[in-house]
Amino acid sequence: MMAYIIRRVLYAIPILIGVNILTFVLFFVINSPDDMARMHLGVKRVTPEAIESWKREHGYDKPLLYNDRAAGAARFTDTIFFQKSLKLFQFDFGLSDSGRDIGYDISQRMWPSLAIAVPVLFIGLLVNISYALLIAFFRATYIDFWSVVLLVMMMSISSLFYIIGGQYLVSKVLHLVPISGYDTGLAAIKFLILPVIIGVVGGIGAGTRWYRTLFLEEINKDYVRTARAKGLSERLVLFRHVLKNALIPILTGVVVVLPLLFMGSLITESFFGIPGLGSYTIDAINRQDFAIVRAMVFLGSVLYILGLILTDISYTLVDPRVRLS
């Protein structure tokens, strides 16, 4: 059991190394630092001096992999690969292209992200499971049929529409909450309500439909027939037997995204002006700040791998078949 978890953690190391090399290739090999400098300075009328000084300012004035001008270990450490890529392993993200400390920015901005992502996840889970259970209870009736129609329609609507439509309706027409912005402490709530509701509503279509399939798959299993043969009521069958089994894939599916909640949502945050990591990333993309994008790629991978490990652990906790074998 313990050995299994340790094994999973150890397996994460080569994968992180792979991700690291991937980002290195993507950001420094496909386009050289010179190209990036030219991009930032504007393509036309760039002098070699300007490029050199931009590279020096941002620490890109080193060879990629091997520095033959340095001595000793510095031949390997005084390189872009070591300084920019390997240091990510220490969660040392360095400075952004505009000169800010990325690590500090991340530590500040993850809280607003969480403030939206966590309620969206859990309220959404509650809503979706309840609705799916309701459909499962009324399976093969008109409630089931029209619910599925509704769900398919809901999942065919772009998330952009939920946001734009929601903002227009709630903030602009009804003037219930501010359209965007953020505040600290409890005052943030009035800014959070709308994005959370929109996040939940936008997830109902796909989420509920998926859970409905899970429930119906369980309902057709032999043990449900046994439960009915005992004389249990449909309600007990559904809640005690079906729900308990279907919760295993649902919960483990939730666990894998838990760490990623820190990353926030790109579009929600940018629409609502929430100063979280999602809008941070979007701003970086729009400003073409490679240092930040690189840091976020690596951070995202670490969190995802963490999610995978947590999923494995949660399986062993939730499923007696795994726990006790």
Binding site: I15, N31, S156, L216, S270, S301
Partner: protein, 473 residues
Amino acid sequence: MTVQPVILWTDALVFLLVALAVLFAWMARGREHLRAPWRYVARSRVGMASLVVLAVYMAIGLLDSLHYHPLLPKAGDNGHGPRHSAEIVSLFDAIVAPLRERSEKTYSAPLAWRLYAKESIERPDGTVYRDYPRLKYGGAHLKEPAREWGPDIRRRMALGLVKAAVIWAVVAASLALLLARRDGIPLSVMFGRLARGETAIPWRTVLATLGLVLAATLVVIELAAGYHVLGTDKVGEDVLYQALKSIRTGLVIGTLTTLVMLPAAILLGIMAGYFRGWVDDVIQYLYTTLSSVPGVLLIAAAILMLQVYMNNHQGAFNSLTERADLRLLFLCIILGITSWTSLCRYLRGEALKLREVDYVQAAVNFGVGHFTIIGRHILPNVLHIVLITVVLDFSGLVLAEAVLSYVNIGVDPSMNSWGNMINSARLEMARDPIVWWSLAAAMIFMFVLVLCANLFADVVRDAFDPRLRNSRD
């Protein structure tokens, strides 16, 4: 030759895809196990209705994939024969040329005859007043728009409906005639069966859907002859035209992405599951690593790098269209890279199971080689999974395009796409009164496509995976 055809990268791939589909259909004709699921699809009402709508989208997308350099209008006879414009247009552009060419000055509401904002207008006598100026094209034929506008709209709609009814009746009658001849029954009996929905293939539903589509299309055609049906955008371009042009972008993203990823996913997935051992370890490592980078971020990084590359190598592209097309292709590839891993993992699991199945063991015992076993026993038995994945992924990819374009990491800003339409329209949401039609047009076109794709995908999945069908009873 009056035109000079241009085959863009994505065009080539689109037609490759069409060729593959035709080839597959031809192969499936003689094989019951391939035909049976499709028969299930053909007999599903939802499946056929959504297929009709999808077919309209596909027709527009295909027409929009036949590109060429148009002939320049007589630019002086200098002995070089016909000269071609550097511009690349498609057959579809030619068909809807009026839509493309009739640009207004700036915003106008759907079906409007004047601009959306007041401007200072100079009277012939030199005095200046502020009013909504008339449009150059929209409602230009009206002499007294305030009075004639309403009746004109109604007349055009009615005319469209009548035309639609005529076409529909012709189609319905010829269908009935064909079916009656095939089954060898009197036409009147066939009409009765059609009307009561008693045919094996739900022709009644097909005809009803077709009727709706025809009515909408012809009404729009009638109106579009004199108005901007969905208004115009900031630079006065017709929004209907933009929305129609975006269809190809959506379809290309939805289909080519999966086409691009399939070879890798199928080959690696099956190899990992079949050979196990170190092959499995390497392939698993590969896809775990790739899938551990969150998709959006990987796309963002890749597109950023592409932008840098394209900026630094501007000489490599002949035209903006080609450049935008390459970016589209690259977006498909990068989306494919982020989405092949789940199919690969799934196929690996299937191959692991299949290699232990008795008929594979029997083949091994006959001395059949590994690659023959993969080709003969494993691949045909996982193809239905591949197909289900392709259709299920489609709608998600269309939606993803919008989001990515919104974040500026989608298709080229110069390319028509629903994402770009939404992106440029959202700034107008702050106006008062708001400019809603760009947004609404993009949303509606996208919604209809995605909804039909979702419904169709459900039917296909039920057809190819009977286990799921039973669980829906």
